[in-house]
């Protein structure tokens, strides 16, 4: 088991290298000159060719591509992500750290909503398949998959905050500010998970082990919860693992709709300001999160499944 985990972790390293390289290349493909941008945001009055060349040298932009990439990666490994162009007195790391908690709160609240809503709803949809409850839920799933998050967000804002004046439209500060954005972020995931749990359970109900549990006269409740639900959730583990970074990355649009001061807002602002170091680090961070959570939940899945666990140890 230990060897398996070590092997999996080592296996993720090439992937991380690829991600960092792609991230570096794409950001550098942006057609404006970082040196010029840096000068412009720091409001240098006259930008001449000489000053640009000077800045390029100062920023290390005149070095070969690969050297710059390696420098960047090595700095990143030392948790030094550079300095923001717009606020030269702030480090990128500091900026991200400042905005991270708000995003984590939003993503965390969304995850809690996703789990606590989709689990029981999916469960009852499967148990009472084709009942009115199941049909209404299926209609809801159909609708939410057709509506983009920002639109749902705006709709909710209009209905709940403006029409009925129940919750604040934007900002953060109290749990009241959290409800609408969290619900907006989680909405698509709730539908996905309801569908996943419902279909997994219906698939499992056809299995022989359910027939045999019925043959032995086990109580319906124990068959549903202890056997069918458990087996169904098992196949959801990896999906949850992938959803966590998706939730963190997915807040980007909703944060901007609700003016939530998290990573997403920072990222959009940085894009408008051409603040390359921030964008680059944000993209890298999200990429790394995907790899790490995928790896983590893969390992969890392996440990939780007796069949796989035996195979690897």
């Amino acid at each position: 088991m230990r060897n398996y985990i070590i092997k999996r972790v080592l296996g993720a390293i090439p992937l991380l290298i690829c991600i960092s390289f792609l991230c570096f290349v794409f950001i550098n493909l942006i057609p404006s000159d970082p040196a010029e941008v840096a000068l412009r945001v720091s409001q240098v009055p006259v930008i001449t060719e000489e000053i640009i060349a000077e800045t390029r040298a100062a920023m290390g932009l005149d070095k070969p591509y690969l050297v710059r990439y390696l420098d960047w990666v090595i700095n990143c490994l030392h948790l030094d992500f550079g300095i923001s162009y717009t606020n030269p007195d702030r480090t990128v790391g500091g900026e991200l750290l400042r905005c991270l908690p708000a995003t984590l709160v939003l993503a965390g609240a969304s995850l809690v909503l996703v789990i606590f809503l989709s689990l029981p709803i999916g469960f009852f949809c499967a148990v009472y398949k084709d009942s009115w409850f199941d049909r209404i839920t299926r209609g809801f799933i159909f609708m939410t998959t057709a509506m983009p998050a920002y639109w749902v967000g705006l709709l909710l804002m209009w209905l709940v905050s403006i029409k009925f004046d129940l919750l604040p439209t934007s900002g953060n500060g109290s749990w009241k500010h959290l409800i609408l954005p969290a619900f907006t972020v989680s909405l698509t995931y709730i539908s996905t998970y309801i569908r996943l749990i419902r279909n997994n359970m219906l698939e499992n109900m056809k299995e022989d082990y359910v027939l045999y549990a019925n043959v032995r006269g086990l109580p319906q409740k124990s068959i549903l919860v202890k056997h069918i639900l458990k087996n169904s959730l098992h196949t959801c583990i990896v999906a949850v693992g992938m959803s966590i970074p998706q939730l963190i990355a997915g807040t980007i649009v909703v944060e901007n709709v609700f003016a939530w001061p998290g990573l997403g807002t920072l990222c959009i602002t940085s894009i408008f300001n051409r603040d390359y170091p921030v964008i680059q680090t944000y993209v890298l961070l999200i990429g790394v999160l995907f790899v790490v959570f995928n790896l983590l939940f893969d390992i969890i899945q392996t440990i939780a499944d007796p069949r796989l666990k035996n195979e690897v140890s």
Partner: protein
């Protein structure tokens, strides 16, 4: 009263959209204490359906009509919960695919114990003792270790034996075995058949033995019911069926079997000649 189960006019229809498909029509039979009824038929002839329909194991799409009286109690139309109490305790069943019949995520021990918890008020130590007794009775080595195993770690023959053990430990009045030897290899098939013969001789349990294998039927059944496309094709004592089958379908089954046996003996004979 020696009759354990009396089935009359049992029919099953399946609703698909607006159509209904007749799956079983007018099945009649009785099973007495200590007696074994063999149900013979091709794949898809409705053997499993006969057992499942009596025990309320079919979903809402199936309509079951007719009557199945178990010890003066009508099973057809009985509430789901009261059938649940009967299943596994009074009427036990052994299924065809031992490898897929246990929950892959649960340990064997917990799956045995949950059966006890559903039907008895035994305390934890009694449950444990009974589980060990069951495994020992089925000649499982290292029962304590086997209890901690997950289904995929055991062989089909072992799981099949555990299934029989679970069925018998509750001392049911009726045991239904649905093709218990189909999914396992020849050596295990032999020992499983021996197990059923033991049960019949020792416990005097009424038994329904479902199979498409005439050889297995010949070993254990007293009476035979031949099903073809959801209808009774032939019915009678084992001897009667083997030698004077009335129905052409039954004769076909028996002749095919005889032909296979003959080829097998010829092959063996030739082999012997070659080595002689």
């Amino acid at each position: 009263m020696n009759t354990v189960l009396e089935v009359k006019d049992l029919s099953v229809a399946l609703k698909v959209g607006n159509n209904t498909k007749q799956i079983l029509s007018n099945i009649d039979f009785t099973v007495d204490k200590g007696q074994c009824l063999g149900i013979l038929g091709q794949s898809g002839s409705g053997k499993s359906m006969t057992a499942k329909s009596m025990l309320g194991l079919l979903d809402r799409n199936f309509t079951v009509t007719g009557s199945a009286v178990y010890k003066e109690k009508e099973l057809i139309g009985e509430s789901k919960e009261s059938l649940r109490d009967i299943r596994g305790k009074e009427i036990a069943m052994v299924l065809q695919n031992p490898m897929t019949c246990f929950d892959p995520l649960c340990r064997i021990g917990s799956q045995i114990l949950e059966t006890f918890q559903a039907h008895t008020d035994w305390d934890a130590s009694k449950q444990q003792a009974k589980a060990l007794e069951l495994l020992e009775r089925m000649r499982i080595h290292d029962p304590l270790e086997v209890m901690e195993k997950h289904p995929h770690q055991l062989s089909g023959g072992m799981l099949q034996r555990i299934m029989i053990g679970i069925a018998m430990i509750m001392e049911p009045s009726l045991l239904i075995a649905d093709e218990p030897t189909t999914a396992i290899d020849a050596i295990n098939q032999y020992s499983i058949m021996e197990e059923f013969k033991n049960i019949k001789n020792e416990y005097n349990t009424a038994m329904i033995f479902i199979t498409h294998d005439l050889g297995a039927i010949a070993k254990i059944a007293d009476e035979v019911l031949v099903l073809n496309q959801g209808r009774i094709a032939d019915k009678g004592s084992l001897h009667g069926i083997l030698h004077h089958a009335a129905d052409p379908y039954t004769r076909l089954l028996i002749e095919k079997r005889a032909a296979v046996m003959e080829r097998y003996h010829n092959a063996l004979y030739k082999e012997k000649l070659r080595y002689a």
